[in-house]
């Protein structure tokens, strides 16, 4: 085990090279609905139980199924109303189980990225080859069912190994060259994109996905009231929008159709989307579009800036040591 995963260098939020999104917009906004499939009776993982109760875990399983049966259409209609294309964090077995949902999203030109095969199959304990196979299977499923070259990854149930990002980047290159496997949503260290070190040294970025704005974290872990969640979204937006004046920011709302699409939560969520999209200087986009744009326009600049700042900091430290 390591004390630091080593994916990125320290890079202070102030005085970074200025980002401007397409058309000079100062903020990029994306919504990432997690469309997940949980199994009623998954095989056991040595590190993490899928359900607290012995089979059948009626409650946990069925509320998640609610997301697909009831919630998906609600959120999809809502996003459409506000001109937002979802960036789907997809349990790719859902292509087989619920192709109707895939079709609806495909028709709306939504992005699909990999969230593993099932949200009840954890990465913990997998060999490198097994994790590579799982990731490859998920990316191939997306391509086969949607024609999209999977660009992004969010590990299933946020279960990682030390190699997760390396493997995703490598499989992406193997399957789709420079178009596949270019960004991760697994890291929460920044409000702007960050170059990420991988074994293959390919251009690869972390795109802010926000655990704090994630509806499941808000509602299930932090037990936030629905209207307060709506207010938090607005506050999050206000600050990032204002800071975008200095250098382009990103706001992401990660959602789950079994959480935010429940009847008592939709109103506050809609109010927040209405508020956010009523601002002019917002690029309403997808995870992949942000990653593509950043890699093309700012990635090299960022790497240079990070290297210079770290070299300068190191020099300062050495000078102090010399005195």
């Amino acid at each position: 085990m390591k004390s630091d995963p080593g994916f990125y260098d320290y890079w202070p939020y102030e005085n970074r090279p200025k980002i401007r999104w397409p058309d000079g917009k100062k903020m990029a906004f994306w919504v990432a609905p997690n469309i997940e499939f949980y199994e009623l009776n998954p095989p056991a993982n040595p590190s993490r139980k899928a359900w607290p109760q012995p089979y059948p875990a009626t409650q946990g399983y069925s509320i998640r199924d609610y997301g697909n049966r009831v919630g998906h259409k609600r959120q999809m209609d809502l996003l459409e109303k506000y001109g937002i294309r979802g960036s789907i964090s997809l349990s790719t077995a859902l292509c087989d189980h619920h192709p109707e949902i895939i079709q609806m999203c495909k028709e709306r030109d939504w992005e699909f990225f990999s969230h593993g095969i099932y949200n009840t199959r954890y990465t913990y304990g997998m060999s490198e080859q097994q994790e590579r196979d799982m990731i490859k299977d998920s990316m191939e499923s997306i391509y086969q069912h949607t024609g999209q070259k999977c660009a992004g990854y969010l590990a299933p149930a946020l279960s990682h190994s030390e190699l997760t990002l390396d493997l995703f980047a490598e499989v992406g290159t193997e399957l789709f060259g420079s178009e596949g496997g270019i960004y991760t949503c697994d890291l929460f260290h920044d409000d702007q994109p960050t170059p990420i070190h991988t074994r293959s040294n390919k251009p690869f970025v972390s795109i802010p996905y926000s655990l704090e704005m994630n509806d499941t974290i808000a509602f299930v872990v932090n037990k936030i009231e629905p209207r307060r969640y709506g207010q938090m979204l607005k506050n999050n937006f206000d600050r990032l929008y204002a800071e975008g004046e200095e250098s382009g920011t990103i706001m992401c709302i990660p959602t789950h159709n079994y959480q935010v699409s429940c009847p008592h939560r939709m109103k506050a969520y809609e109010e927040a989307l209405d508020y956010i999209t009523s601002h002019d200087d917002v690029w309403i986009t997808t995870g992949k579009e942000i990653a593509d744009y950043y890699l093309e326009h700012y990635y090299e600049q960022a790497k240079t800036d990070i290297a210079q700042k770290n070299a300068a900091a190191l020099q300062t430290a050495l000078n102090k040591g010399a005195k």
Partner: protein, 308 residues
Amino acid sequence: MALDKSYLQYAHRSYGMDHERYDWSMLSNRPAITWPGGKKLALWVNVPLQFFPLDQKGEPFKIQGGMTMPYPDLRHFSLRDYGNRVGIFRFLKAFDKYGVTPTFAMNTELAKRTPYLLDTIKERGNEVMCHGMHMDALHYGGQDKQVEAQLVKDSLTQLRELTEQDVTGWLSPGRNESENTPELLAANGIKYFCDWVNDDMPYTFNTQQGNLWAMPLSNELDDTFIMLNNLHSEESYAEQIIDACDYLLKEANEQGGRILSLNIHPWMLGQPHRISALERVLEYVMDQDVYSACASDILNAYTSQIKT
């Protein structure tokens, strides 16, 4: 390091669900229905009437709302009992004031212990569904099938005798089931059950003993989920129900009839400082021209309009 190869095999990765219990179906694709009187929204107020034994065994787990302290946990025993002595009568007044038809999900053990309360409900003529034997008689995965079969049979037979009702509905204690529970319910004359929370409308649930209807009793809107589990305020509870009511009514107008299901516990919302939140909710919802009915009537109104 590696996992067993079965961890990367996906036996159920094919169209529909990963089990045979019900068909995959998106709510928005189903035919529109209308409630009696041309109403768009049905209000199902479901009141669990529960007995939490002081000598709780907690097998295989301690139920939420049950005893948590070393024996004898008088605080929780008596606070739950409060609901059946005091809180329920506040509920009944509120139901009558706002013209709400409740459904009672009763532990059979409570029906035996509180004849006054049982008679009160019988005189009112409200539907009683079975809520299992008591709150420490759980149905769970790995339970001996014969033991559970006896438990289901006893719970239903005794409750039917006591209530003099058919008792065709079921809510498991803790909403927990074994893999055999649906079959046992169907074999014992149950028509609908309320444990699964994957829909906002009734749907057909397959069992080897004939089909059941799964009735959509929201756990997200349950008073104990909001105030005990999530620790939200009484005011927030009322806001959440009102927001849900508005949303479901809007969806009902666009897609066809919907159900607002409120599972409310007299030991929770029946407290003096919480009852006004319930009253505020009932006043608001009943002002929306809803169809307030018991679970069986809502189900019958639904099944009479759809092909099965």
